[in-house]
């Protein structure tokens, strides 16, 4: 029964805003597994925090169901749900000491003071913050407050821990180290984490699975690798990492899940078809990551360039280098394809490849067809 910790079934949440009804969450369905680190990723206002608040019980869905460990949560208030939240601004009780903050949830459960104090101490040790129990929250640094908020939620041993941009207020360096620590902590305690963030890098490095949201809709759910390498929509491809979009017209669909796309200059290339692409779609974008593109300079006229022998599963196109930018490990090239399409490619600066390509140089660009995805325009 309890294979899923949290299930959202066709959730809709509408808010009244100046007489108009605004849909903050639009028909979201997802099942989150026990022990999973699940990230809700999207720009601000995409509905990710509202989704979290629906699970916590701070908001009630307009329609649809929230199930926690198979139990319908309708009519169950926040204080009876087996979930705990780490708030974005931590929301530590300013009038209570750190220890009293951590003990608060246990006190509400009726745990006796001695046992509660012991468990609070253990929780503070778990988040590597021993010996500050007597202090008030405002006497701690932002990073320390963050740990107290974590300890306060974890001490309740919830089925699910909800985290609302918990690292948002920390500086970059601290954020990086907390990312690893949080991930290690999650493995250690084995509790399901639902983690709201607008930082795609954070989601990719920490999560087992990511749900990308935009305008209340859950566009794609998948592992970080799937999300990064197989984006199914223009928005997802664009939001996560850098992507080239080459406009084209879909000519036909092949049986192997690939499609033939005609580019502006008439060239026909093959690319994976997005599952989200409608059957009637004809105008598409071919999405390809900059690091998946290879470049070979055109060799001498005798054709000894080597690599650009046409292969079945490789796309090779003519291009002109329009600019280059040295960025340490890589060099970032901008290229012009035929038909005014622009392309960005990133080549690693290896020992063999230290001679930079020159602006205006004619080259061949190539990529494996499996690296390219045809998705909505």
């Amino acid at each position: 029964m309890a294979t899923f910790d949290v299930e959202l079934i066709d959730i809709v949440k509408e808010f009244e805003s100046g007489g108009a009804r605004v849909r903050a969450v639009d028909r979201v369905s997802v099942a989150i597994e026990d022990g999973e680190f699940f990230a809700l990723l999207g720009p601000s206002g995409c509905g990710k925090t509202t989704t979290l608040r629906l699970i916590a019980g701070f908001e009630q869905p307009t329609s649809g169901q929230v199930l926690i460990r198979g139990r319908a949560m309708e009519g169950i208030p926040a204080y009876h749900r087996p979930v705990n939240t780490v708030f974005q601004d931590y929301a530590l009780f300013p009038h209570l000491s750190v220890e009293q903050n951590v003990m608060f949830g246990l006190e509400m459960e009726g745990v006796d003071k001695k046992a509660a104090r012991k468990r609070a101490g253990e929780a503070l040790e778990k988040v590597r913050l021993p010996g500050v129990g007597e202090r008030k929250p405002h006497q701690l640094s932002g990073g320390q407050q963050q740990r107290v908020a974590l300890a306060r939620a974890l001490v309740k041993q919830p089925a699910v821990l909800l985290l609302d941009e918990p690292l948002g207020a920390l500086d970059l360096k601290l954020r990086k180290s907390m990312q690893y620590e949080l991930k290690a902590l999650q493995r250690d305690v084995g509790i399901t984490f639902i983690y709201v963030t607008h930082d795609q890098e954070e989601a990719i490095t920490m999560a087992d699975r990511i749900a990308v949201m935009s305008e209340g809709v859950m566009l794609q759910v998948g592992t970080p690798k799937e999300i990064y390498e197989r984006p199914q929509t223009h928005f997802v491809a664009d939001f996560i990492g850098e992507t080239n979009f080459i406009p084209g017209a879909l000519l036909g669909r092949d049986a192997d899940g690939y499609g033939r796309v005609k580019l502006a200059d008439g060239t026909v290339i093959r690319a994976r078809l997005s599952h989200a692409l409608g059957n009637a779609a004809s105008a598409v974008s071919v999405a390809i990551r900059p690091e998946r593109i290879g470049i070979t300079p055109l060799g001498p006229p005798d054709g000894s360039g080597g690599r650009h022998t046409p292969l079945d599963d490789v796309t090779v196109l003519d291009a002109v280098v329009t600019g280059s930018q040295y960025i340490g490990t890589d060099t970032r090239y901008t290229l012009a394809l035929g038909g005014e399409a622009e392309l960005v490619a990133r080549l690693q600066n290896t020992a063999e490849r230290n001679a930079a390509l020159q602006s205006g140089q004619r080259v061949k660009v190539y990529w494996k067809d499996s690296s390219a995805t045809a998705l909505d325009h």
Binding site: A78, Y79, F93, F104, G105, M108
Partner: protein, 294 residues
């Protein structure tokens, strides 16, 4: 070094003049504000009975009011004065207790509730602060009269004004002050704190007593002190709603004035002012401390 020393000196002079002006400005303003009160306090220590000149320091007027002496008049009684003071404390305490509970409840409803007409009620909260005191006093006097007439008609019993009417009247204006101060405090409070308490298993009742109330308590106490001070000081509304044997200290002082302004009246006024200032000082300090804690 080719710096124009003359220009530098001129700039420095102008800046010094500006500084002096900035200092002078509040001094003049405060002088207008405090000069009359200063005169009152000063003459409560004047050894001469005349207000024409200050002829030396004395505490005899203060000792007079405690020893049944008041100038040439023999009508003054320390016992009556102390009784009036006790009445003031009684009215102030009861009115403050009632208005603090009601005012805090209104503040909570305003800050957390969602109901139609909320903005109207919010605006009405400021009404007792802005409408003339005399208007409120007369309206209350008429209201009590009408209410008691109706009561007499229905039950056959005649009710007369007394402490209950003064207290009810004081509650009406005190509620606003308590609600406004407590409301400001609630507005400063992070609404996530109540959610965090709920999240950790506290139902709304426990969340209120464990989180919300301790955090707004400084505001509530501050509002209560303000209300108590206003009650102690109030003359107009008390005058219009009091009955027999309910003379409060300000009403008593007014009675003395009908005879003549004496240094003893100055002394009583000075003591009243000191008590009020002290209470308001504590109230402001509570608000300041509260603000720094959030």
């Amino acid at each position: 070094m080719l710096i124009n020393e003359g220009a530098m000196g001129r700039n420095r002079r102008i800046r010094r003049l500006g500084q002096a002006g900035l200092w002078l400005n509040p001094m003049v303003a405060y002088f207008f504000l405090w000069a009359p009160i200063l005169v009152l306090v000063l003459f409560s220590f004047n050894s001469s009975r005349s207000v024409a000149s200050f002829s030396g320091f004395t505490l005899k007027w203060y000792s007079n009011i405690l020893n049944n002496v008041m100038g040439a008049e023999s009508a003054f009684s320390t016992a009556i004065m102390l009784n009036a003071f006790r009445n003031s404390l009684f009215v102030g305490t009861v009115a403050t207790a009632i208005s603090t509970v009601l005012g805090t409840m209104i503040a909570l409803a305003m800050a957390r509730g969602k109901f139609p007409g909320k903005r109207l009620i919010d605006g009405l909260l400021f009404l007792p602060v802005v409408i003339p005191e005399i208007t409120q006093a007369i309206s209350l006097a008429i209201f009590f009269k009408v209410a008691f007439d109706w009561f007499a008609l229905l039950s056959g019993e005649r009710v007369f004004p007394g402490f209950h009417t003064i207290i009810a009247a004081h509650v009406t204006f005190n509620i606003s002050y308590v609600a406004i101060v407590a409301r400001a405090r609630l507005a400063d409070m992070n609404p996530r704190l109540e959610e965090a308490a709920n999240d950790l298993g506290a139902n709304p009742w426990r969340a209120f007593w464990r989180v919300t109330f301790p955090l707004i308590l400084p505001g509530v106490i501050s509002g209560a002190l303000l209300a108590f001070t206003l009650s102690l000081d109030d003359f107009v509304i008390t005058f219009f709603t009091s009955g027999v044997g309910t003379t409060t200290l300000p009403v008593f002082v007014y009675g003395l004035l009908k005879l003549t302004v004496t240094p003893e009246v100055n002394a009583i006024s000075t003591i009243m002012m000191l008590i009020s200032t002290l209470l308001i000082g504590i109230s402001l300090a509570m608000q300041g401390r509260a603000a720094s804690r959030v």
